[in-house]
Symmetry: D2
Subunit: 337 residues, 4 copies
């Protein structure tokens, strides 16, 4: 569950009957562009190209409540589901005893005492990012409508190579051919988000965005503005100096702060951050693991199932969605004081 | 305010009568080692060396409630304060109209309509990390007592130099002499934290820790395990393979996951992450800014006041404190299901 | 949304495709008795007798997530739905402009700007108590399993007559025949709930239970133990004196406190409270109202649709459900400190 | 801790160094009338008349943070304390083993394992309603300023006698002379609170107000509008019919709903409710109890200390305060959607 006022709760297992989300706090009488939302979801849908899993899911959103027949929000909680259709559970049956390296399997086996659904990662599955995209796609439309706010992502690095210097698809296919996978770095920029949102200490905007972004499976790092690079600079290099522009407005000469200072949006530049995605843990290269029932070593575990060799590609709309959820919630939490 | 079950709320302004915190959720009948707590607070106190501000504060904790005369928690909310004594407000008077680059001043002026306390950063001040250390020092003692859990930090880089290759104090003093400041990278390791804590998606441990860490002023980035470096690796390099050790226990050959997979602590290695601190924005080198009342440019703003040329040094116990708060809260939120 | 650790979020409209709830915080590996749950839901289902609405709904629970094929909780969020089948929307079409007295219509028209679903009360409908019964039925089974805890309700008064002195069905049918409805008082007793749960001030158990009970449509009052009657007594009459019983245990001579003192369960008697239900606002007797579009008076509004002449009868399992949700959440919030 | 957006956390023990509260969510740049607040607090201060305890406390508010020297809110958390001065701890020393009937002592002994402060009720003390009055007094001023909203209480019944038919002071003094105490019923009316605040089910305004009111020690019941009396009526009697008045506005002929329908404020009448206070449990009449250490019966426990024979009198401003906190929080949670 995420959010204080725009509350999003995600449910479902990768191989259960349906996945979905319940949303509280969306504005009554807001008209939703369902086609736009469906298009947004399409960006993370599988089965599109050689660089993604061959699992095919229509990912068609179905509203159970909160949206009337004119696509208008009724003011009550919105529940939307996506039915699971193309599930090949047999691929996963032998996984219930042998945790896959880099996956949640080991911890989940301990934690849920064997009752969680191991197929396709169950509730841990990347497939659960589809409901995040429903809620985030809605938040994105609201932010666009209210502030003309745009949230954009860009693929910065794949497998250690700058996307500008080497074709990411090539890097991914190379790894795939080797039965392997690659990590990636994605950047995100938010334009026209209002100033003055957030607060010092635990009310900060960075913490709120970070919490939402780490909700995306495979994310292992986040940095705002100059981030880790800025940690190697001096104050005189990293500070964003201010001046008065020709329209008599305050402007900053740089945006090392990533648009946030003291936890508050400054409005002096887009909110910018970069996200580190680890390489997909599911690989067909043999790996060592352990049979948890027999406690025998498994020398050469080959992970079957259909997987993306680089999750970051399809995760880009999810980054936008999580950001939209965090920012709309932050705005709602502030606006009336 | 932070936490769902170990709730910490921090209050105070740098130059007001007192700073402090209110804590709900500490266990009744827990005996607090007050001397240990005071020593922990001492690690972030100013006025100790040439590399920190010359402001001197005893930072003596005073309990207003929740702790009885035998230093035992009563089960009711704990409120602790530290009185402000050495405040030189006159240093800040001219700042109320001219925002300092890299500081929250500009956003705060817009947001609080001139009613916030500009002196020493008010509620944005690094001084507010002292109450975080009170709450975190308490959480640290509880975690130590319950699980023999240790939380340790290390200075990794200062001003772009590895701490192992160049004396950090030297790097800091050099910058200070130049009227400038430096950023730094701090790593944190948590030993003996129990497995199975956390959950997938928005319940993840990384998101919770990140939210707490971004509550520390000047933090601009966080990465778990192999983090941004891992984003450049392949799955076969980044996955932590598993084996059975001679004690018939499952063990991992590496800890690229930073002890967390699928948002859950694995118990297969310490929880590890790295934090990027930006360079202290307060520098005496002249910078450009704007007088917000007259909208005249200020060509050469020199920030007076007493400031640390590198906040990361004194922030190390604060990283430990924020981590302890996040982890104890995460554990409390799980333990009885 | 209700709860801090057993979080229940209810969604759906009376005449939409489905109603349901999402539950976080149920214990992994708990085996649910689905038949028992379905039987519990049956107690509030309509269409059973002459004293309830003739709308017939199977109210069959369908789990979309969180429960595996062996009816075992997986540890992930549980989403359950009930499909709406027998909906006669045409009964409600003329209501969209004329608020029914005693209903939420007037406030909802202002608030949701015409986008809420007016049919059958939409999200305000008593039908939404079915999802509360799903979540509460689950909590009830957990409490029974953990503590052998029983939650029971009794019909105390109907239409001003003590249920022991005049047959409630007769009172209800009399009102129904007159095109009218009646209110009622329901009592609830909780046996074997553990002591020591709750806390002083805003952490009190009475406040938590009250919040859950007022979540049931038509509830207008709640009193614990001797309640309003106790307000007319003296301390020496109302205090529950203590003694040592023959098993060397502390016992109370009376239970005027309703099992709660200082906001904490005492374990010295069942938790007891009484709930006031107003008479069903939907009556076929003509009433005055206003056409909100034309602002013309409506002299003789006759509310059509199929309605219970006394909601309290079918609301009794809902009282048990809301109580179970509140108490299980309270217990979870306490147990690990 | 109470509230989602106007968060109030109360701390302190009756006989510790200080009591107080921390408040988040008060509007920046709001000017507080400190004198008015102090006067409001004066209404619940002890030592004023023969019908209240002879303990004398100045109850002078001291702001540690969040309020600047011009009594203007800075936008940061507000912490206010009241120092305890007139504490006669020796009165309570013998209570640490023998729970007083009608008090939290028994449950607290079990729960806090002897570490809570037994003197004067510790954190359970009625004295802790002073910080509620600080936070509520602030909320009251904000509501007055924003909406010209007035919150008023009236003493309805004392010891079973209608206040209009028998002088309450006389009833109280009579009980006091007999070494006894009396309960009371207090009504509360809120004028000019905006319509459209609240929501169906668990978002309802009744539940929110009830939760706040049950945070006041000694409250055992609450009813809105016609409440328990309404439960004895028919729908045609209890529904508030609507008409168009001469100013062409919708008006209700009665206010049996207490200004709330479907959990939402209607604006068609003041929000009204009645609160049942139990008789003060501390009485000097001898009562039976048990020595919890020796498990010996205590035949004639006489409760010493200075106590109000009727808490409701001084609790009236506390009812107003708790109501103001709940309503301002509810309004903040709604206003920007």
């Amino acid at each position: 569950m995420f959010g204080e006022r725009f509350k999003v709760s995600v449910f479902g297992e990768s191989h259960g009957p349906a996945i979905g989300c319940t949303i509280e706090g969306a504005p009554a009488a807001f008209w939703l562009d369902v086609e736009e939302l469906q298009k947004f979801l399409g960006r993370r849908s599988p089965g599109k190209s050689k660089t993604s899993t061959s699992r095919k899911e229509a990912d068609k959103v179905e509203f159970l409540s909160g949206v009337n027949e004119h696509s208008c929000f009724e003011g009550s909680p919105i529940t939307a589901i996506i039915r699971n259709t193309d599930t090949r559970s047999q691929d996963y049956l032998d996984l219930s005893e042998v945790p896959r390296p880099g996956h949640a399997d080991y911890a989940a086996m301990l934690k849920y005492r064997g009752c969680n659904d191991p197929r396709g990662g169950g509730h841990f599955s990347g497939r659960l990012t589809a409901p995040i995209c429903i809620a985030g796609g809605i938040a994105k439309q609201i932010l666009k409508h209210k502030f003309n706010c745009d949230i954009e992502t860009r693929l910065e690095e794949v497998g250690g190579f700058l996307a500008t210097l080497r074709d990411p698809n090539k890097v991914i296919l190379e790894a795939k051919r080797a039965g392997d996978s690659v990590g990636a770095i994605v950047s995100c920029s938010v334009f026209n988000f209002p100033a003055k949102i957030g607060g010092p200490l635990f009310d900060g905007l960075e913490g709120k965005i970070a919490q939402a972004i780490f909700g995306i499976p495979a994310v292992k790092g986040i940095e705002f503005g100059s981030g880790f690079r800025g940690a190697g600079l001096r104050g005189s290099q990293n500070n964003d100096e201010l001046f008065v522009n020709t329209d008599d407005e305050v402007e900053a000469v740089s945006n090392n702060s990533g648009g946030i200072l003291g936890g508050i949006s400054t409005g002096l530049g887009p909110i910018t951050f970069r996200v580190a995605f680890k390489p997909t843990p599911s690989i067909s290269k043999p790996q060592m693991s352990v049979n948890m029932r027999t406690m025998e070593p498994v020398k050469k575990l080959v992970v079957k199932g259909r997987h993306d060799p680089c999750v970051a590609l399809r995760a880009m709309p999810v980054v936008e969605a999580a950001t939209a959820i965090a920012l709309y919630d932050a705005w709602l939490s502030e606006s009336s004081r």
